[in-house]
Every structure is written in C-alpha cells, then in structure tokens.
C-alpha cells in the first residue's frame, strides 16, 4: 500500500466532549488509499513535539479528500493539536500499516473502548451492518454511539459504573451478544485488558477475533523497531506500525 506525506489543510477541529476532539483535514492522497485499521502520523510543523503522533483513521472521503481522526487530549502533542484552527496546515503521513481490519463478508462484531472506538467507525462504514459494542467508563463517553448509528445493525453499550447500558466491562456483554446475533468474527480496539478478555471470550465461543494494537512509536513506518513484539503463534517478530496495527488475536495473546 502506498504512503504519502501531505501538508493538509485543517477543515474542522472541534471538541466532541471536553477531552476528545475531532479533526478533519484535506489529504486527498491519503484519503484515496486509506483502509479501516490504518492510521496517520500527524505533526504540527514548527511546534513543540519532535516526533509525529499516530491516530487511527475514522473516515476517509475519496471524493472530497477529507480525512477524519478523533483524538483524546493526553499530553504535549494532542494539546497543541487542539489549539489549531480550520485553515491552518498540519503535516499528515499515511495511510500507515499493512495489517488492516477484515472487511470480508460475514457478520462482524466491533468492540471498542475509549478512543479505541475511533478506527472502528471507519470499519463499520465499510461493513454490511455490523453489531457494535461501545464500552465506556461513564455515560459521557457514549457519544460514540451516534458515530456508529448510520452503519450498525445493533449497538450495545456497557459502562463501568452502569450509568448507561449494561453495567460492567465489555467482556460481560459478550455472552448476550453472541446469543442474540450470529457473529462470525470480532474486531476489537481498546485497552490491552479489554482486548485480551474479548479475545479469550471469543476464542472460548469459537469466534475468530482480531485486535488493533497500540505501542509507543517513533517512525510509524517500520524502520525504528520501537514497536515490535513476538507472535504468540509463530515466534516471529512483528512491527505494530508496519505489519499491524491489526493482528489476529492469537498472534498477540
């Protein structure tokens, strides 16, 4: 898959909730190639950060060239991104990652927690009516459901505190979801423990599972070896940025 470096004009940059922002920028080459699961490596040029920052692609419009990301305010880099305005230019490198989500036919369950839900939106759009499980700490986090509504057949919600949907972690909702829907495969993106528990539960239910990994990255293109891990399946070493970020769960856990 071809990668590009684009000076992208920001089309929109707004807070969805106080700590989670949505940015849309014009990067037609990236938009034309992007597949669900891939990410972009972003940088405000002349800013405070040295390295680029990776974010999953939430949407890519091949016609308008608009690429969307959703990012959580974490530290220096995301802080300076929130200060950017429409019309300003941000450097975008992408689409990155050869390991993308499966978009083959079949009924998919997408499970995500926090900003891990971001790349699943793009996946949902490319699938035929997937089932979605949105896991959040509290109700405020469940604004995510509205992103999935246009594409999902059914949306389940869990919150840690029970303030919305099912009380508990994502994995607690799985038995019911599997019982109520003919799920062929599961695609997960979120905290490691969520991915691991979902992977194990899926395995136990005999359903294939793929996970989107997150590791600290320096290059994002497979040259620094900052993000590698050893496959649990083959012992082979993979680069999260180049061979992933999406892997069969069995390689990871």
């Amino acid at each position: 898959m071809k990668k590009f470096l684009e000076n992208a004009e920001i089309l929109q940059n707004e807070a969805i909730i106080p700590d989670v922002w949505k940015m849309v920028f014009h990067a037609p080459k990236i938009a034309a190639e992007a597949k669900p699961g891939q990410f972009v490596n972003m940088q405000k040029q002349g800013g405070k950060t040295f390295l680029r920052r990776p974010f999953g692609i939430v949407d890519a419009d091949t016609e308008t060239g608009a690429v969307t990301i959703i990012y959580r305010l974490v530290g220096t880099g995301t802080q300076e991104m929130t200060a950017m305005k429409a019309g300003e230019v941000i450097s975008a490198e992408g689409p990155l990652g050869e390991g993308v989500f499966t978009t083959a036919p079949g009924k998919a369950l997408l499970v995500g927690g926090g900003v891990g839900l971001a790349p699943l939106i793009f996946l949902a759009k490319k699938l035929d009516k997937p089932v979605v499980l949105v896991a959040g700490k509290k109700a405020a986090e469940t604004f995510w459901t509205k992103f999935f509504e246009p594409y999902a057949e059914k949306i389940y919600v869990t919150t840690d505190d029970g303030s919305l949907g099912i009380k508990g972690f994502a994995v607690h909702a799985l038995p019911a979801i599997f019982a109520e829907n003919p799920i062929d495969r599961v695609s997960v993106c979120g905290p490691t423990v969520m991915m691991q528990t979902i992977a194990e539960a899926s395995d136990a239910a005999g359903v294939a599972c793929e996970v989107s990994m997150e590791k600290r990255m320096a290059c994002g293109i497979g040259v620094c070896l900052g993000c590698t891990f050893e496959s649990k399946l083959s012992g082979k070493r993979y680069k999260v940025c180049a061979d992933g970020p999406v892997f069969p769960a069995k390689e990871v856990f």
């Binding site: 040295f50 600290r216 293109i221 040259v223 070896l225 070493r237």
Partner: protein, 304 residues
C-alpha cells in the same frame, strides 16, 4: 540540481550525494521508497546486524525528549544469515551503496561477521562499537581505545570493504578513540552514536524505558555532535562521516564546515521521511548561492 556538484567519494565509495540514512533509523532503505527516490541518495546504512538474530529489549523502547528522543531498541535484527538471504538481494537491486552496520560481542566475532558480509552488494561496513543499549561488549569497545582498536583490526583482517568505525560520544576525549581506530587501520570514522540518557514517569515513579537508560538523539544533541566532529576531523587523516541531530541542510553544511566529508540523518527521518533527499537538494542550492563549485570544498573550512 547540479548532480556533479554534490556527488562525493567517501572512503572509496561513490555516492550521488553526501547525505546518507543513519543506522537504525533508515531500515534497509526500501521502507522509504514511497517518500524519496532511493536511487538518488548518498547511501543506505542498515540497522545493526549481529551474528545471531536478536529480539531487542523488552518494555517501552522509544520516548520523546525536548528536541529529540531516547531509544533502547537493543539491536533487534534478524541476524546476519537472514539478512544475507532475505534482505541483501532486495536492496542490491538499487544503485545506492548499502553500508552494513555491524555489532558483535567480541573482537573475533566482529571479524567473523565481517567475513560473512564480504560479499557483493555490501559497499562498506560501519562498525558499531558504541551501542549503549546492549550489555555485552558495546560499552567497553566504545570507551576503551585498545578494545576499539582490536575490533577495528579484526574487522579489517576479514574484509575487503572499506571499514567505518562508529564512535560513541560518551567518552572524555573522542579524539583518543578516533586515533586508536585510525592507527588500527580503519578507513573512516562515523560519529556520533547516541548519548546515554534517561527518562522517568513521575506518576509510576519508575523509569520510562524498559532498559532504564537509552540513547539520546535528534536536534538536541547537534551542538555536541558538531563539536566532536570538529575535534576528530582535526585529529585524524581518515574521512569523517558526521551525524547527530541533523534536521536541515543548514545542519548538514555545519557538519561539513566542521570537517565531515559526508553526513547522515538519523532520528529526523522519522519526522520527515523525505529528509535525506531534501537535505542534499538544500546543500546543492547552498553551493549555488555561495558560488561553491563542489561541496567538498567546504570540508573543514572553518579552520581556514
């Protein structure tokens, strides 16, 4: 662009430009094919290759720092055999010289590794005696002139290729190291490798990196690298490959004015994957503007 004006010969290797991709930051070159014309750069310096495959260090391996980064990759690589079998043939299709960066545990092993790499497609060896992120060997070879010389000699004895010794900045007097490897027969030196540094997570109250310490690189270290290149260029007769924090053609010109015969870009490739090519273009434009007929005229010019 005036291609003749910036073509150089470094330690016997013909290069289209004086700007190479530094070891560990440039993969095997091919990874950059979408961003630049890999047949239009000075050289590809490979990730460090060791006798056997290495998984590298566990835990977090990279961290950002002010104007730079720390890494403790720990020489993850597929080992020399897999390198020769799987990677070398691919890279050899390109006209750009491939310099293979090597590391080993003893002087003898360095020699054996060099012998295995004395094959077509390898333009030169860059001998890493300065990796701060591995336990065996690395630090002694990089800080003890006798040990460094013994590695240089062993490699020279086992290869027909030019041998570039890569020096560590974590020493009191880098000219002592440079002279030791020059006397041992090295064809060139490259410097600097990374400065040993550290970062701490104040909330977990633990080191941020899996290896506790890591190597600092990027623009932050440029003033130190430039000083060392200047010192070494004035202390030895063999050519110097200058690197450490280069992020613009201006930086590259500074290194050549200080005495480097060629330069390499390291961590900045992660920021701008087109850097190796763009910096060469900027150097050419500088020649044009300054009325310099060949880039090599500026080597060591600040001493005039």
């Amino acid at each position: 662009m005036n291609k003749e004006r910036i073509a150089v010969n470094f330690a016997g290797i013909s290069m289209k430009t004086p700007v190479m991709g530094a070891s560990g930051t440039f993969g095997f070159g091919l990874e950059y094919a979408d961003f630049l014309d890999i047949d239009n750069i000075g050289a590809i310096i490979s990730k460090g290759i060791t006798p056997l495959p290495r998984p590298g260090n566990p835990g977090v391996r990279v961290a950002e720092t002010p104007a730079g980064m720390l890494n403790c990759i720990g020489l993850e690589n597929p080992g020399v055999d897999a390198f020769k079998r799987d990677i070398l043939p691919e890279v050899s299709r390109h006209s750009t010289p491939l310099i293979v960066n090597i590391s080993a545990g003893t002087a003898e092993e360095y020699g054996e590794l060099a012998a295995k790499l004395d094959v077509d497609g390898v333009a030169a060896l860059e001998v890493n005696i300065s990796c701060p992120n591995v336990k065996e060997g690395g630090i002694v070879f990089g800080t003890d002139p006798k040990a460094a010389a013994s590695v240089a000699r062993s490699v020279k004895d086992h290869t027909s290729k030019p041998v570039i010794m890569k020096l560590s900045p974590n020493v009191t007097d880098i000219t002592v190291m440079a002279k030791a490897v020059e006397d041992a027969g090295a064809d060139a030196v490259s410097l600097i490798n990374t400065l040993t540094g550290m970062a701490i997570d104040i909330y977990t109250q633990k080191p941020l990196l899996g290896n506790i310490t890591g190597g600092l690189s990027g623009p932050a270290v440029k003033p130190v690298a430039l000083r060392m290149v200047w010192q070494v260029a004035n202390a030895v007769k063999i050519p110097v490959l200058g690197l450490g924090g280069i992020a613009s053609w201006q930086d590259a010109v500074e290194f050549m004015l200080a005495g480097a015969s060629a330069v390499a870009v390291g961590a900045y490739n992660f920021v701008n994957p087109c850097a190796v090519e763009e910096i060469a273009e900027g150097m050419d434009a500088y020649c044009e503007k300054m009325g310099i007929s060949h880039i090599s005229e500026i080597i060591g010019k600040i001493n005039d």
